[in-house]
């Protein structure tokens, strides 16, 4: 069948819901939280209208949502859930359980700032705080990437037996409508065949136990296997991203999407929707003669260390844009990127710009101002300060 996309104008949340539908998920367990709620509402609507045959569990909390997904996934079903901020934090314990039991659960997290004070707006600290849970993390720039990301995530997750999180930003994507090219069901089915679980609780041929006590003699090896699966995931991500490009025209074979790197003095590096703004700004800056580029980190876990090292070799500076912060240290992406480059000789000047926390607007004008600052730093070869709280009202 020839690929003819179905164009729909949808919010980021609806893009996520459609992707779950097209992935033929079998069990959904979820709990409402702004700005995630419309994802699970839409899925409920699909079921109500007979578009999908899904077991829908309206749980009493996010902790239980993840626990129910874990039970369902261990039984062999393809499962989906979605959450945001406080809900993700409440799931934290169970996120470890999902990766530890090697379950390919896919979840959409809508990036939202953590309370207090209450904020329903965009901020990456919620998902980045789950960095060490053994979940893969994909940061979507736009609604299209939310849709594509969910479909690819199932294929990758079911290949390496690790869970994956697709992350979109609060309101900027979750509630903003845009054209999304959807894939006809038959072609999704070809790309993503039914799940073949690693094990299933419904298989009684040889009774088995999952998740019990492991002594110091064994636990260590369990961790090593997850580490290995994460490493393996890099290869699978690239392959699946390439296949997706070949089938549907949008290539995701690079874990870091980049442009203008080769002759750039410095690049902007960041994740998620703010990189859309950066792209636009960089195009403008180029016209004005600035030698800038951009590097959008698509997958934060596994971390694309090798790709970053390549970028570092060709540029003099990297401006990291962190819509997040790790108190007592620095922006989380900055920290990861710097750490990845320690053992190389290519060490561009790096500066961490803390931007957009709690939904603070981040515009093309801001990118230009940061470009100005970076230009000075590169020219003088002097880093004034490592971390800049960019919007601070002084």
């Amino acid at each position: 069948m020839e690929y003819k996309p179905i164009r729909k104008v949808v919010s980021g949340n609806y893009a996520a819901a459609y992707a779950a539908l097209h992935a033929r998920v079998q069990v959904v367990a979820a709990y409402p939280i702004t700005p995630q709620t419309s994802i699970i509402e839409k899925i409920a609507e699909f079921i109500a209208n007979g578009l999908a045959d899904i077991q829908y569990i309206p749980v009493e909390s996010e902790h239980s949502a993840m626990a129910a997904c874990i039970g369902a996934s261990a039984t062999g079903a393809r499962v989906f859930t979605a959450t945001s901020a406080q809900g993700l934090a409440l799931m934290h314990e169970m996120l470890h359980w999902a990766s530890g039991a090697r379950l390919p659960i896919v979840m959409v997290n809508v990036n939202r700032a953590m309370a207090p004070p209450w904020s329903v707006w965009d901020d990456q600290t919620d998902s980045l705080a789950q960095r060490d849970t053994g979940w893969m993390q994909f940061y979507a720039e736009n609604n299209q990437e939310v849709y594509d990301g969910v479909l690819m995530a199932y294929k990758i997750a079911e290949n390496v037996n690790l869970p994956a999180m697709i992350i979109e930003s609060a309101f900027i994507l979750s509630h903003t409508y845009d054209v999304v090219e959807m894939i006809p069901q038959e072609l999704v089915d070809e790309f993503l065949p039914p799940r073949k679980p690693l094990y299933s609780l419904a298989n009684f041929d040889e009774p088995f136990a999952v998740g019990g006590l492991a002594t110091p003699n064994d636990y260590y090896e369990f961790r090593y296997k997850i580490a290995k699966a994460m490493e393996e995931a890099k290869k699978v991500i690239k392959e699946v991203g390439k296949e997706f490009g070949e089938r549907f025209g949008r290539d995701y074979s690079e874990m870091i999407e980049k442009a203008y790197i080769d002759d750039a003095d410095f690049v902007f590096m960041g994740m998620g929707s703010l990189m859309g703004t950066v792209k636009e700004a960089v195009d403008l800056l180029r016209k004005e003669g600035y030698k800038v580029g951009y590097a959008k980190v698509r997958w934060f876990r596994p971390f694309p260390k090798e790709e970053l090292m390549e970028i570092a070799e060709s540029v003099k500076g990297i401006a990291v844009l962190d819509r997040n912060f790790s108190f007592g240290q620095e922006g989380i992406l900055f920290n990861e990127a710097k750490g990845s480059l320690y053992n190389t000789s290519a060490r561009p000047i790096m500066k961490d710009y803390i931007v957009g926390l709690g939904g603070r607007d981040f515009t093309v004008k801001d990118v230009k101002a940061i470009a100005e600052d970076m230009k000075k730093i590169i020219e003088s070869g002097k880093l004034d300060r490592e971390i800049e709280w960019y919007h601070l009202k002084r």
Binding site: Q26, V27, A29, D53, I54, Q55, I57, P58, V59, E60, S61, H63, S64, A65, A67, A68, C69, I70, G71, A72, S73, A74, T75, G76, A77, V79, E93, M94, W97, L201, A202, N203, F204, P207, F208, A209, V210, G211, G212, L213, A214, T215, D218
Partner: protein, 311 residues
């Protein structure tokens, strides 16, 4: 294994074993007996979810399992949620769940994992109506972490965080009536059971298997280690808990209460008979025993009334 006819006639419990010897429970452990009966009733086409509790250890460390059934170890507070997910997935995948020949999904959790940290997930499970059985084995404290009180610990009991001392013991609250909270969900079937009455327990397990929807059984399971009782007195203590009406056996089925006491006509024995075999009650004064006795009889009268009115 083929059972000889003459033996079969005399058996009051299913012959087949699906809980292996070699598990790691303490001597005289009531909980391990309970799990054995559950698997006798349901056989190997059973999926058991066990949260953090003594049974995590009893089942054995990786790569071992004492259960001849599939076992999913889960987080302490998630039993209700995880069995909901398992049940939903079985249905999504087209399996028959519950009933005579369906797959049995069983949550097997302690009193701490049920009455305290897991209460919310239990409530969600009950309220949503999943086809699974939740069994709370009640050993009246957190044994796995070294005998701390739970809300199911009785008045007057010593535990490591309600210690007895020169001044007095600290546990001054009466046992939480989890079963009442469960019944408030108006589920089709809820019951209490005791390891001292295995025929009654198995009958209830079979009933829970037949009735669609969520079922709940609160199983009284003495713990010699935590109760400071002789390891050969487990059954005697469990029997006395029933005979003193401290832990009465009853069923709640579609709105109706039914008391299943072994000797229905007999007045309850004095509570001292239950207390005296256990070191955990040694700090109780005469007045304390009176307080507990009064509570036990009040609760017993309450239950009898319920059975009278809603029988």
């Amino acid at each position: 294994m083929e059972v000889p006819e003459n033996i079969k006639k005399r058996l009051t419990l299913p012959f087949d074993e699906h809980f292996y010897a070699g598990h790691t429970a303490c001597q005289g452990c009531g909980a391990s007996l309970g799990l054995r009966y559950v698997l006798k009733a349901y056989g190997k086409k059973t999926i058991v979810a066990i949260p953090a509790c003594c049974s995590t250890i009893i089942a054995g460390p990786w790569p071992y399992s004492a259960l001849d059934a599939n076992l999913f170890h889960t987080a302490f507070e998630t039993t209700g949620a995880v069995i909901s997910g398992i049940e939903a997935a079985l249905k999504a995948l087209g399996y028959k769940v519950k009933g005579e020949d369906g797959i049995m999904v069983v949550g097997w959790a302690g009193d701490g994992g049920t009455a305290d940290i897991g209460l919310q997930a239990l409530s969600g499970f009950l309220e949503r109506g999943h086809d699974a059985v939740y069994i709370m084995y009640d050993n009246e404290a957190y044994m796995n972490t070294g005998i701390q009180r739970s809300s199911s610990t009785p008045y007057g009991a010593w535990t490591t965080n309600t210690p007895g001392g020169k001044k007095h013991f600290l546990e001054k609250r009466h046992k939480k009536k989890v079963i009442d909270i469960v019944i408030a969900h108006r589920i089709p079937y809820a019951a209490t059971a005791s390891v001292a009455y295995p025929e009654d327990f198995i009958r209830k397990l079979k009933k829970a298997q037949k009735i669609p929807g969520p079922s709940f059984i609160q199983l009284f399971a003495p713990c010699p280690t935590g109760w400071r009782s002789p390891t050969d007195k487990t059954i005697e203590i469990a029997r006395l808990a029933v005979q003193t009406a401290y832990f009465p056996l009853f069923e709640y089925e579609n709105g109706k209460y039914k008391i299943n006491m072994p000797n229905p006509k007999k007045e309850p024995k004095p509570i001292e008979e239950f207390l005296k075999l256990q070191g955990r009650f040694k700090y109780m004064t005469k007045e304390d025993i009176e307080i507990l006795q009064k509570w036990v009889l009040e609760e017993w009268e309450r239950l009898k009334k319920l059975a009278e009115v809603f029988g």
